[in-house]
């Protein structure tokens, strides 16, 4: 009898404690969500106030805005893409497709938009290469377990942090004034940013390697370079490659945006085309950009899966 009472007392106490705990937790969750909602409404109001056109004023006109996008003749999209003369051409810039041809060899030409897309992709590839080349040695210096000197490690780490956080458009703007506006300034800006971004990911990989090969090499008297080359690099290279491929995906996007602010390439043409309301040209550019980014993403995903398996798809947590 007494034991049963005790038992039920203990159970009740436990149940009470549990209830108190959960109610407190629920209260905090509700408070958190409430605060988030308040912040969301406040920022929405702020963004709407600060904008040139207001959300509810512009909403009914959203479809008007889409209407210029629909070309009168859908074939113009293909003609714009491949620089084929359009019968709608009345001497305006809207339909002057063949003027942009880039002649490579005699009568053989690359359509303008493909050339621009190529520029954008090349900017992304070259800047990723720059990032990779510098990030690899930096990452070995910045890794706690492999660094040749703690002071140097700190310097390199801070330097990479600075490169990562520095707004790319400022670097691009600075170099636009030095090497003239265009893709080279964009390469420098994106390349510098990539050094910081890749360097951080790389040194985090380096810090998680198996140190036994390194000890073995140290035991036979290998110097720092040999230890890094033969004990570090083989372990981390697949992961390095995987992150570099991921970086290529990101850099293609950044390079497009850089183009829109003067870095050359397809971004510039897209911005012009949208601001002038050229429906067919815009659609052709969006289509080309969409397909390119999609293909780059798929190719890089395929290659990453081959290199490091499913692990490649876990984003850094």
């Amino acid at each position: 009898m007494t034991s049963a009472t005790l038992h039920s007392d203990a159970t009740r106490q436990q149940a009470d404690a549990w209830r108190r705990q959960t109610s407190l937790r629920r209260f905090y969750t509700a408070l958190g969500i409430g605060l988030l909602l308040v912040a969301m409404c406040a920022t929405m109001w702020f963004a709407d106030e600060a904008n040139a056109g207001h959300f509810f004023d512009r909403l009914p006109h959203l479809l008007d805005f889409l209407s210029w996008l629909i070309p009168k003749d859908w074939n113009d999209v293909w003609r714009a893409l491949f620089d084929i003369a359009s019968p709608n051409d009345k001497g305006t810039q809207e339909f002057n497709f063949p003027l942009g041809r880039v002649y490579v060899w005699g009568g053989f030409y690359i359509p303008e938009y493909f050339e621009l897309m190529l520029t954008t992709v090349n900017v992304a590839l070259v800047s990723t290469f720059i990032g990779f080349v510098f990030a690899v040695p930096f990452s070995f210096i910045a890794a706690r377990n492999l660094t040749p000197s703690p002071v140097l490690r700190l310097v390199v780490k801070r330097f990479m942090e600075l490169l990562r956080a520095f707004p790319e458009i400022v670097i691009a703007g600075l170099f636009a004034a030095i090497v003239s506006i265009g893709p080279v300034a964009a390469i420098i800006a994106i390349g510098l940013h990539s050094i910081g971004a890749l360097g951080k990911l790389f040194y985090e990989i380096n810090e998680n390697i198996d140190m036994r090969p390194e000890e073995g090499l140290r035991a036979v008297g290998a110097n720092w370079f040999e230890r890094v080359r033969f004990a570090g690099l083989p372990q981390v290279l697949p992961n390095f490659m995987s992150y570099t491929l991921l970086r290529i995906e990101i850099n293609v996007r950044i390079s497009t945006i850089m183009g829109a602010v003067g870095g050359g390439g397809i971004g510039e043409e897209l911005k012009l085309s949208i601001s002038r309301g050229f429906g067919a040209k815009t659609l052709a550019l969006v289509l080309l950009l969409f397909i390119t980014i999609f293909l780059v993403d798929q190719f890089s995903a395929w290659l990453r899966r081959k290199l490091v398996g499913e692990q490649a798809f876990l984003m850094s947590a």
Binding site: A47, D48, A50, V184, I187, I293, M315
Partner: protein, 454 residues
């Protein structure tokens, strides 16, 4: 202990996968390097890099960088007027009626401008000028219709047809013609950072400003000195503190709002896209392709479209980040859902709970930390991305930065904004890192508990 040839052969036989690898496996690193080099050669030609580098102006780099942290004053002295008087450009950093102590009118009627004390200075009247720098004194005669250096010309002085230019490094330069002397003197620091030249507080020492604010008479009748000072700082014409900070807030808001809304929309969609949860395989495929579409139609395209739809401003930027994030977060959320442990779900299902309750108690506790962690990560990267997006008109600090840079003269303002941006990125990185570390600890504990229970 030396191994014999037979032993080596035996080891080779035992491990053929190491010693006799197929040719393509042995040579692919070499091929990769050769391919990269070929590509780089092509890129060199594609961007005509040698020509671009040849035509670039690297000498501008130190000049621009020095402008980030310094400002200059450019007084001009007309010699063809009856009275020599210093003239300053309009909106010079000294305000109206400047009378700086480094411009000295000597008793004998000549003027001396000290560019770096007496060691780098110029003294002149209507007939002659004497430039001193680097321990050398260069006399210039102005009487023969064009400026003539009498004596040897040091290498820091350039003699043009009608002008003599003396460069004095960071400190500035002197330009002399027969009818005017032009001086540029450079100062380290940011001019008029707190009060601009129109402010009644301009040029007063800080102690005086403080005492004016605390107990001084009203400088502008009807407003307290404190609110006047605050208004003057906020509306500083040169540094535009008010505008810069508002734009910075816009950038933060864009990243926050875009990521949050993207998360809210992606959250329910991810359940229908996850292969192990969705009621229909077709729906899953459709949603996944939709996520890919939202991601592949780049943030730039969304930004340009919404800028045209809503006009330039943070609304367009938020909408652009929102649309991109639906894709990115939808993809990562649904991948997280596909990787869950199915046992809690089966357990809840076996009690007869309906579909919604199964998700709430069988799935959510497992994925919520992952979801929040991914969202924070995206928030962090969008805070950086919002800066660039701004430059195409989507609001925020980006456009302001871009406009300040285009003139090539406002590098100090650019640096001010860069410092603020760096500060914001730094703060948000740390907040996001802190929250994610706490979450990953929760995740870690959860995994450990799971492991202990078997």
């Amino acid at each position: 202990m030396a191994i014999t040839v037979e032993e080596i052969a035996a080891i080779e036989d035992r491990h053929p996968q190491i010693f006799r690898r197929p040719a393509y496996k042995r040579f692919w690193p070499l091929l990769l390097i050769a391919g990269t080099l070929l590509y780089l050669g092509y890129a060199l030609w594609f961007f005509s890099l040698p020509q671009v580098l040849r035509e670039s102006h690297w000498e501008r780099l130190p000049l621009f960088l020095s402008q980030w942290i310094s400002y200059d004053l450019q007084p001009e002295f007309r010699l063809d007027q009856p009275q020599i008087t210093p003239k300053y450009p309009r909106f010079s950093a000294l305000g109206e009626n400047p009378n700086p102590d480094w411009v000295i009118q000597n008793p004998d009627g000549t003027f001396t401008v000290q560019i770096d004390g007496d060691a780098k200075s110029v003294t002149f009247d209507k007939t002659k000028a004497t430039i001193t720098a680097n321990g050398v004194t260069v006399p210039v005669a102005l009487t023969s219709g064009k400026p003539v250096v009498t004596g040897p010309v040091p290498d820091w002085v350039t003699v043009h047809d009608d002008e003599i230019v003396a460069k004095m490094g960071f400190a500035g330069e002197v330009r002399v013609t027969v009818d005017r002397v032009k001086v540029r003197k450079r100062f380290l620091g940011w001019a008029n950072f707190v009060f601009d030249t129109r402010s009644p507080f301009f040029g007063r020492p800080y102690s005086e400003v403080v005492s004016l604010i605390v107990s001084g008479p009203e400088l502008q009748p009807g407003t307290s000195n404190l609110s006047l000072a605050a208004d003057n700082i906020w509306n500083n014409a040169q540094w535009q503190h008010g505008d810069v900070w508002t734009k910075l807030l816009q950038t933060i808001v864009m990243a926050f709002l875009g990521t949050l809304l993207g998360g809210i929309v992606a959250f329910p969609l991810a359940f229908f896209a996850a292969r192990n949860i969705t009621p229909s395989g077709i729906l899953s495929q459709v949603l996944k392709r939709f996520f890919d579409f939202m991601r592949s139609v780049d943030m730039l395209i969304w930004a340009l479209f919404f800028t045209r739809a809503f006009g330039p401003g943070p609304l367009a930027g938020s909408a652009a980040i929102f649309f991109t994030e639906i894709g990115t977060l939808g993809k990562t959320y649904s991948e997280a859902l596909e990787n869950i442990d199915d046992k809690p779900r089966e357990g809840v299902l076996s009690t007869g709970a309906n579909g919604l309750l199964v998700q709430r108690y069988g799935v959510l506790p497992e994925v919520i930390p992952v979801f929040i962690s991914q969202t924070l990560y995206q928030w962090e990267s969008n805070t950086r991305g919002a800066t660039i997006i701004g430059a195409v008109g989507a609001g925020g600090i980006g456009l302001k930065l871009w406009e300040a840079m285009r003139t090539n003269s406002n590098w100090a303002n650019v640096f001010y904004m860069v410092l603020l941006t760096l500060l914001v990125v730094f703060i948000f990185d740390n907040i996001s890192n802190f929250l994610r570390r706490r979450l990953s600890r929760t995740l870690h504990d959860y995994n450990r508990l799971q492991a202990e229970r078997g």
